[in-house]
């Protein structure tokens, strides 16, 4: 009797498709992907700044350019209604984002400003990375303090 497993599998398809079509779940997943990309590139820079990783100008500049590009993306647009930590289990976005979207947008814009010119600024030696990481990290912190759920 393969009928029951088959029926179960068929029944599960619409469920999986629903999750994929759910704009809220998609937005949360996209945000996590965004931060993951940010983290990979920040990790490269922070590693070189601390001396954990050998300085490589091309690699550092590429990581910084990635961050510049990422911060040009309209991230606040992914913070759709119904995707706060109060609404979704896998969201760390505090509801305060939605009560003051202007400030949240300004915080993200500040990250963009901190990133601007980074791909040039990190050239010329490991010592040039530290100040860039400080500026970027400061922008990370400013937003995390107010808008990220401290699990």
């Amino acid at each position: 009797m393969r009928l029951i497993p088959t029926a179960a599998a068929l029944a599960a398809i619409p469920l999986a498709a629903m999750a994929q079509d759910d704009p809220i779940a998609q937005a949360i997943e996209a945000r996590h992907g965004f931060y993951q990309m940010l983290a990979i590139n920040m990790g490269t820079l922070a590693g070189m700044a601390k001396g954990d990783v050998a300085y490589d100008e091309a690699q550092a500049s590429r990581a910084a350019a990635n961050i510049e590009a990422l911060t040009q993306y309209d991230l606040p647009g992914l913070f759709v209604e119904g995707s706060s930590s109060a609404d979704a289990e896998d969201s760390a976005a505090r509801p305060d984002i939605w009560s003051d979207p202007e400030d949240f947008g300004a915080k993200f814009a500040a990250l963009g400003e901190a990133a601007s010119g980074a791909s040039e600024a990190v050239r010329g030696g490991a010592g040039n990375i530290g100040p860039v990481v400080q500026k970027l990290g400061g922008a990370c912190k400013a937003c995390h303090d107010d808008y990220r759920e401290k699990s």
């Binding site: 983290a39 920040m42 990790g43 820079l45 922070a46 990481v133 400080q134 970027l136 990290g137 400061g138 990370c140 912190k141 400013a142 995390h144 990220r148 759920e149 401290k150 699990s151």
Partner: protein, 193 residues
């Protein structure tokens, strides 16, 4: 017939230095944590000093002079209840050291600060500039959760410190006993209990 009052050297110089240094560095660390610059280097250093002070206090609690020892002021529920019965009398306690109830506050503050130091050391707030020096030794969920615990801990420390100050004021104005001066000069009027 009560025992006569005696003025004794109650708090030794190291314990007094510990107390005021701890107060100073906890207040500075707390203020920097809430309102300080994004790069928290000074906050970190304050935390290291607090950690060192806590280690001193732990050691001093076993080898220090009598009033500084845990064995001297940690008492059972009976002693605590006994102390509380006379607590609201409008007269000085003349207690020779931490009283049985105050001892609980001392332990609560030391434990809260030890927890605060621990969570700070392992916290990773994902900003690449304020990562606790021991964060890489714990799992990623733990170092992320530690940020939340550290934030809760700051509130707990605030509550305990405000309670401490409120009780000092209660002694000063209700019981007419100055507990601040002995912590500066080391000398206090006491009566054997």
């Amino acid at each position: 017939m009560k025992d006569p009052l005696r003025e004794v050297r109650l708090w030794d110089p190291l314990l007094r230095a510990f107390h005021w240094l701890l107060a100073f560095f906890v207040i500075v660390a707390w203020g920097l944590g809430k309102f300080g610059p994004d790069k928290m280097t000074l906050h970190f250093w304050c935390g290291y000093v607090v950690a060192g002070l806590l280690v001193f206090r732990l050691v001093w609690g076993f080898v220090g002079p009598e009033p500084a020892r845990f064995s001297h002021f940690l008492r059972g529920p009976g002693a605590i209840a006994g102390y509380m019965r006379g607590m609201f009398l409008r007269e000085p306690s003349y207690w020779p050291g931490h009283n049985p109830l105050g001892a609980l506050s001392v332990i609560a503050m030391l434990a809260a600060l030890a927890a605060q130091v621990t969570t700070g050391l392992i916290a990773d707030p994902d900003d690449y500039i304020n990562v606790g020096p021991l964060a890489s030794y714990v799992g990623s969920a733990t170092r992320s959760n530690a940020v939340g615990w550290h934030s809760l801990g700051a509130n707990l420390v605030l509550v305990l410190v405000l309670l401490h100050v409120a009780v000092i004021l209660f002694y000063r104005f209700w019981k007419r006993e100055d507990l601040v001066r002995p912590m500066i000069t080391g000398r206090k009027q006491v009566r054997e209990h």
